[in-house]
Subunit: 348 residues, 2 copies
């Protein structure tokens, strides 16, 4: 019997638990811990987890795989607390939205025998908490994984197996590179929504201005109504990424302001080019991904199955959706990141 | 018989035509003109308009009300072209997204006898054109109206009547004030979406970064896939508004960057305050409007009916939804704008 322990049963942790539970895999026991024991007990009652633990130490003591799904600033503490209690050969992963800082915490807290493989599923929704979690939250979603250089193939495949079971698309990425990318595509949008709302709200004309605010303004500021703790944690754990891209977006806005003195043609081209490029992105991105997945499938599926949870997984894999694979998305990216996974690649 | 002529049968013009046609009002003839005659002919075939005109001059020659719903930079030309042909007592309105410039064009082009009442419905959708127009596009939407100081009560009520028939909420506003407000709540969001997309797209890391881009990024850049001509026109006709608010949003972003060195509490408060304020805005704004409408109804309904289209309107009004009224939304706003509509207010 293999035990997976999920620490933190909020939207993400709850969705992982529900997604794995929905597979109904024999030989896999899902355990859970939440700071609020009532949530763990409720998840147990609902049959989402086999056991809800009252304390973190007992929750992880027998786990083969520990998934830390707490708010990102809570991860350091969890790592410190579990380090003396996890099994020597355990695998630890997380779902935090910053990865560089988390990897530094893990290196400091965990014994060398333990494989830490940082993770970040690119999925979520506005409503937080276990009540809003869903077994299908990760279907089709990118899931960043950042193995430490010392992580062995088996451990990486274990995490890949979990992601595959949840329907996610794994993307291998360096932790610091991850932080720069998500700052641009995820943290800056949050900041723009908040800044836009604050700018208008703090204007002396807000009372009148707000009467004109249509669905466009509401959409554009939607992210400002998100979880303030999560936003705070992004700022605390990814300051370099956020700082860099604030400078870049200010540059873009300055460039846009200079447009105001340009010819109608130049102004039109500015917006038309963005429109064309975005339309291409929206239309081609999913296709590109799907194509790669299919190319990777024959070897990928075999690879993923060589994991500690046993050969029953090999059978189960035949029921899995197409998106499972173990290869990084991009040869260049893998090389660029200097991650050595030659063994994984060549066995297929 | 009263004739309304709609110039430009795109998303907005088409929706106005369909909305009025859906009322099936006897005594009202809807005429249409589009640069592309095939569109006007098609609208006529569909029964949306009574007559589709081949030339602009004949389209407006007998109109009591002319609605210019072309792209905003086309309005100057339309005004010049119709000025010698509209009836002396005609009312002219428009739907352009900038109002200061349009009012200056109208003052230059139109004879003094003609009442120009600028308008801007705060409604739209991504898909443009007559094919995407809808009779319900304006239901519940704010509709800015900017009467010239010389516009008489009857003319204002005519435009209010049209807005009421379409289900819109009229908001009286000064043209330059309008331009500042919509720059903040509508033009800057468009620019932020475009700048965010360009920032990422132009990054050397885009190839890898785009793999992580989830629905959040797609939502945040959605407006960048809008109509580039409309975006250009905003820049051309509202440069002061756009310029002012670019400076303001850059200030906000600089402030947010300074947060990075602050305490966890300060960072949390920044996001939590925005969240609370936005939640209040989202929850209370519609209520506040509905309440005012009901207060205004008894006099408002009577007022709106005193329009040139005849007393049949008085009867039709009884079928109209609650949102009809003729009073400005806000006493202070009206005073602030220095618009004298005492007569309108006191007759009810």
């Amino acid at each position: 019997v293999s035990q997976v322990t999920i620490v933190g049963l909020g939207l993400i942790g709850g969705s992982i638990a529900k997604g794995l539970a929905a597979r109904n895999l024999k030989g896999l026991e899902i355990h859970g811990y939440d700071r609020d024991f009532a949530i763990a007990r409720n998840a147990e009652k609902l049959g989402v987890i086999a056991t809800g633990h009252r304390d973190l130490q007992s929750a992880v003591a027998n786990a083969s795989l520990v998934v830390i799904a707490t708010p990102v600033t809570g991860i350091a503490e969890v790592l410190d607390e579990i380090a003396p209690h996890v099994r020597a050969e355990a695998i630890v992963t997380d779902t935090g939205s910053s990865k560089g800082e988390v990897h530094r915490w893990a290196a400091r807290a965990l014994p060398e025998s333990i494989s830490f493989i940082g993770g970040h599923p690119m999925a979520g929704r506005e409503e937080q908490g276990f009540a809003n979690s869903s077994p299908t939250l990760f279907e089709g979603a990118a899931w960043c994984i950042c193995p430490t250089p010392s992580a062995d193939e088996q451990s990486i495949n274990t995490v890949l197996g979990m992601i595959a079971l949840l329907g996610g698309n794994p993307i291998f990425i360096d932790p610091d590179e991850h932080d720069q990318y998500v700052a641009a595509i995820s943290h800056i949008p949050l900041l723009l929504a908040t800044s836009l709302f604050n700018m208008c709200r703090r204007s002396i004309a807000w009372e009148d201005m707000s009467l004109l605010a249509a669905s466009g303004f509401k959409d554009a500021t939607r992210l400002a109504s998100g979880d303030a703790l999560m936003a705070r944690d992004i700022f605390l754990t990814n300051p370099e990424g956020v700082s860099h891209w604030i400078d870049r977006i200010i540059e873009e806005l300055r460039g846009a302001k200079e447009l105001l003195g340009k010819s109608p043609e130049e102004i039109f081209n500015y917006f038309a080019e963005a429109k064309v490029e975005r339309d291409i992105f929206i239309q081609t991105a999913p296709t590109r991904r799907a194509q790669r997945v299919i190319e990777d499938m024959p070897s990928g599926r075999e690879e993923v199955m060589r994991m500690f949870m046993g050969t029953w997984m090999m059978e189960k894999a035949k029921e899995l959706p197409q998106q499972m694979r173990s290869k990084p998305q991009d040869e260049d990216l893998r090389e660029k990141l200097g991650l050595n996974r030659e063994g994984v690649e060549k066995k297929g």
